[in-house]
């Protein structure tokens, strides 16, 4: 009995039971469907064991979209709870768990994989490479991320979710519940995957660019992703260590963040934000890169101020590491420290401003085409700037005593993250969709979505600035009638509902376009400028039959307009990596390992640890040099793709 109590949910509610039933039914439906249509073999051969960066990218995309809905349901539940004063929809414990899982899921299991999807799908194509530097490591990265995400997501059904916020401050997080264990271990597993992604893409970008593509001729998205990966490599180890300390405190009784025996709770806050602040730049810089590609494509003009774009990103990446303490101005670190962190924080506004001016100048001199991706990019500029302004307000440490831990802060970071990151993801999704699947998403539905999301966003978050300045605290599950926050929160709820409609429309758009969109499109439907559009659609598994030669950051545009020759020489056999089941199997074992640790099941924990080492040993002894694609096969594939 004692054994089963551990796995029981400490605070069950109707909502949790309903979602358990829904999850169970979905799982059964998927398994039954796979069996009925005899797709197990296909799934294993073509997807689970794949090392192709394009397919791994698509798997990241699917996971990110699923998590967007998981995090979105949490968001709607919170807004519904706060819509009227003294609401009884959720109790305080449930609310705590929801804002915690919402934050973690949105940042780590939605936005991160979405960005990594772009890196996977776009970078090798954009630099004219055949794959990433370490294709198999790439598969391992994906599966580790996926298993970490799944582990985190079962927390509300097995044992209970974390409830101390996505920042998980100790001693708030230091409880007997397994929630904190879930937080520490699930994020750890996914984080290791991300760190390997960072190493992989840094190597890829440094070493695998097409001939002629010097660093200063790299397309802007590749630049932004490169810098994001450098930040990953430097920031994620800090998280790894912080999570390891937290895990050890929880499981082995160490004294890192405890309140006695010398432990220091503020240490967690520092380590967390040394990672956490750069983390938001890991998200925003690639988003900037995507906007740069889209804005220059649909302005029919090269990007204004290429060099200043690069320089500003380098500067932002450096500054991102020296501002972390602006997250706890009010926790007694002294006026001197506050002033320093205040100034470094505000300094970030300068390079960011440079970028905004560059985009505006690109638009200014361009011939603008209003496609859906462009609509998002244009909406992004004013909305994001607004978020930037409130960010500078928060950066003033003295004033922060007023806003800190209020809805003002919640409004601010959603204001930068939704127009900044989420819009970029949706713009990029629409932009790259034809390259991935060979048809366009419907433009009319796409534009409706963009407008609904923008209006919904404004309605949902602008009121929070007001109530925040009035003192509505963040992370409070209810408030009394007399505060007068009621009407504003109702508006917020309506806005969130409108956003929800927007997100559902995306799914509808995909469904609609799968059914009705024309399959007869060219490989370059947007008349774009960079190399990823220079190969066929669908992209053959070897990407380019002949490695392109590059002379500028817009090689493909030069090829189309200035007779630049991209492909020189004849077909040669191409070396490609083999598929492998090890990354998936090893990640499954990691899942079991994480689960065992979360519930302190020591024997399975030891067995899975050995399992992980066995996998690594097998990998060490494995002799696998990949295979060659013959010239004949390339010729056949190419002529078929050209014919189609």
């Amino acid at each position: 009995m004692e054994f089963f109590e551990r796995f029981a949910i400490p605070h069950p509610s109707i909502a949790i039971y309903a979602s358990m039933v829904a999850a169970g039914l979905t799982l059964i439906a998927v398994l039954a469907g796979l069996t009925y249509f005899k797709k197990w073999g296909y799934l294993w051969r073509e997807w689970i064991t794949t090392v192709d960066h394009k397919r791994i990218g698509i798997m990241y995309l699917i996971s990110a979209l699923l998590m967007l809905f998981r995090g979105g349901v949490d968001a709607i539940m919170m807004r519904a709870q706060l819509a009227v004063p003294d609401n009884k929809l959720l109790d305080s414990q449930h609310y705590n768990e929801i804002f915690t899982t919402h934050g973690v899921v949105m940042i780590l299991f939605m936005a991160m994989p979405f960005i990594i999807f772009f890196m996977n799908f776009v970078i090798p194509l954009q630099i004219g490479a055949r794959d990433v530097a370490f294709p198999r490591l790439n598969a391992l990265s994906f599966w580790l991320f996926f298993m970490g995400a799944m582990l985190f997501n079962i927390s509300f059904m097995v044992g209970g979710s974390p409830d101390a916020g996505w920042t998980s401050y100790f001693p708030l997080a230091d409880t007997d519940s397994v929630g904190t264990n879930y937080y520490m271990i699930a994020i750890q597993i996914a984080g290791i995957g991300t760190l390997m992604t960072g190493i992989n893409f840094m190597t890829t970008i440094l070493k695998m660019r097409a001939p002629g593509m010097t660093l200063m001729k790299m397309p802007m998205f590749t630049w932004s992703a490169f810098i994001a990966n450098v930040i990953i490599v430097f920031a994620f180890p800090v998280l790894t260590v912080a999570l390891a300390f937290g895990t050890m405190d929880q499981l082995f009784g160490t004294q890192f963040f405890t309140l006695d025996n010398g432990g220091m709770a503020m240490l967690w806050a520092n380590l967390f934000w040394v990672w956490g602040h750069p983390e938001v730049y890991i998200l925003i810089l690639p988003a900037f890169g995507i906007y740069s590609e889209i804005i220059s494509t649909f302005s029919k003009r090269n990007l204004y101020g290429y060099k200043s774009m690069v320089a500003s990103m380098v500067l932002i990446s450096v500054l991102s590491f020296v501002v972390w303490a602006h997250h706890f101005f009010t926790m007694g670190q002294g006026a001197m420290a506050n002033s320093i962190f205040s100034i470094t924080t505000m300094a970030i506004a300068v390079p960011t401003g440079v970028k905004i001016f560059n985009w505006i100048l690109t638009l200014w001199k361009g011939k603008i085409e209003f496609t859906t991706p462009m609509l998002y990019s244009i909406l992004f500029i004013p909305l994001f700037t607004l978020g930037g302004v409130t960010g500078v307000m928060l950066a003033m440490s003295a004033a922060d005593y007023q806003y800190h831990n209020t809805m003002f802060l919640v409004a601010h970071f959603h204001n930068v993250i939704i127009p900044g990151v989420v819009f970029a993801m949706l713009a990029g999704l629409t932009y790259y969709w034809p390259k991935m699947f060979g048809f366009m998403l419907n433009e009319r539905i796409g534009k409706w979505t963009a407008w609904l999301l923008s209006i919904g966003f404004l309605l949902a978050f602008m009121p929070m600035y007001v109530t925040g300045l009035d003192g509505q605290a963040r992370r409070m599950y209810t408030y009394s009638e007399s505060t007068g926050f009621g009407p504003m929160n109702m508006v917020s709820f309506v806005g969130a509902a409108i956003m929800a409609i927007g997100f559902v429309l995306i799914v509808y758009n995909i469904y609609y376009s799968v059914r009705y969109a024309s399959r007869d499109i060219s490989a370059d439907p947007w008349d774009a400028r960079t190399l990823e559009w220079a190969t066929h659609t669908p992209v053959p598994h070897y990407n380019f039959a002949i490695t392109p030669e590059v002379a500028s950051s817009e090689a493909y545009w030069d090829y189309k307009k200035k007779n630049h020759e991209l492909y020189k020489g004849d077909y040669e056999k191409i070396h490609m990596p083999n598929n492998s089941g090890i990354p998936f199997v090893m990640s499954c074992i990691f899942f079991g390992w994480g689960f065992s640790l979360i519930f302190s099941l020591w024997i399975p924990a030891i067995i899975t640890t050995i399992g992980i080492f066995v996998c690594m040993t097998l990998r060490s002894f494995e002799k696998d040099h990949g295979h060659y694609v013959s010239v004949k096969e390339i010729e056949d594939t190419e002529s078929e793709l050209r014919g189609a």
């Binding site: 190493i199 800090v238 260590v241 912080a242 004294q255 006695d260 025996n261 220091m264 240490l267 002894f621």
Partner: protein, 198 residues
């Protein structure tokens, strides 16, 4: 795989070059990891609660022995890589074996040291100071342990498959890893033990 014979074995294919660069970047991440451990160590150094302080438990003799063992092993692995470049498989394997034996010796002394600490009431749960001390030392020790297995696997492969671009590359990368552990140890030696004893 195209092999370029004008380059040292470990660099002789494109794949090898990728792996070496990738490994250097990995070391960058490892530096951050250990830097975080050190930063935490300096923060918690004097937060000993009711437990012992560093000066009370550190002993110089085993630490010097550990240092000698590890520094020597770093030297012998360098000789091993040199032998590899000359194509002398037997000598290379000999030096790698010596390296691993020295590493094993290091680990033995470290385990003995941990047992003494436990004996003196400095377990990992005693205080924030002992938690970070044992975690930092333990992380380094765990790296050495993994290295021992890794090195052993590479030796077996060199024995079975000979010195090929692939095994040469693996051996070279392993030597980078081993040197790195040595560098970390020098920091541990200076900033944990010597500083603690002074």
């Amino acid at each position: 795989m195209k092999v370029d014979h004008s380059l040292p074995l470990e660099y002789s294919t494109e794949e090898n070059q990728l792996k070496i660069l990738g490994f250097w970047i990995f070391i960058g991440a490892e530096i951050m990891l250990f830097a975080t451990l050190f930063a935490t160590y300096f923060t918690l150094e004097n937060r000993t609660g009711n437990g012992p302080t560093g000066a009370e438990i550190f002993e110089i003799a085993p630490v010097i022995l550990e240092t000698i063992l590890l520094l020597t092993s770093s030297f012998t692995i360098g000789l091993g890589v040199h032998a590899m470049r000359l194509g002398r498989k037997k000598a290379m394997m000999g030096f790698f074996i010596v390296t691993l034996v020295l590493g094993l010796g290091f680990l033995g002394v470290e385990i003995f040291e941990f047992m003494t600490y436990a004996h003196e009431g400095a377990g990992i749960q005693t205080s924030a100071f002992t938690s970070i001390l044992l975690t930092t030392l333990g992380t380094h020790g765990a790296h050495v342990t993994v290295g021992l297995f890794w090195g052993l696997f590479i030796l077996i492969q060199v024995k079975k498959r000979g010195l090929t671009p692939e095994t040469g590359n693996k051996s070279f990368i392993f030597s980078l890893y081993w040197h790195f552990l040595d560098v970390v140890w020098i920091f541990i030696f200076s900033f944990i033990y010597l500083k603690g004893l002074l």
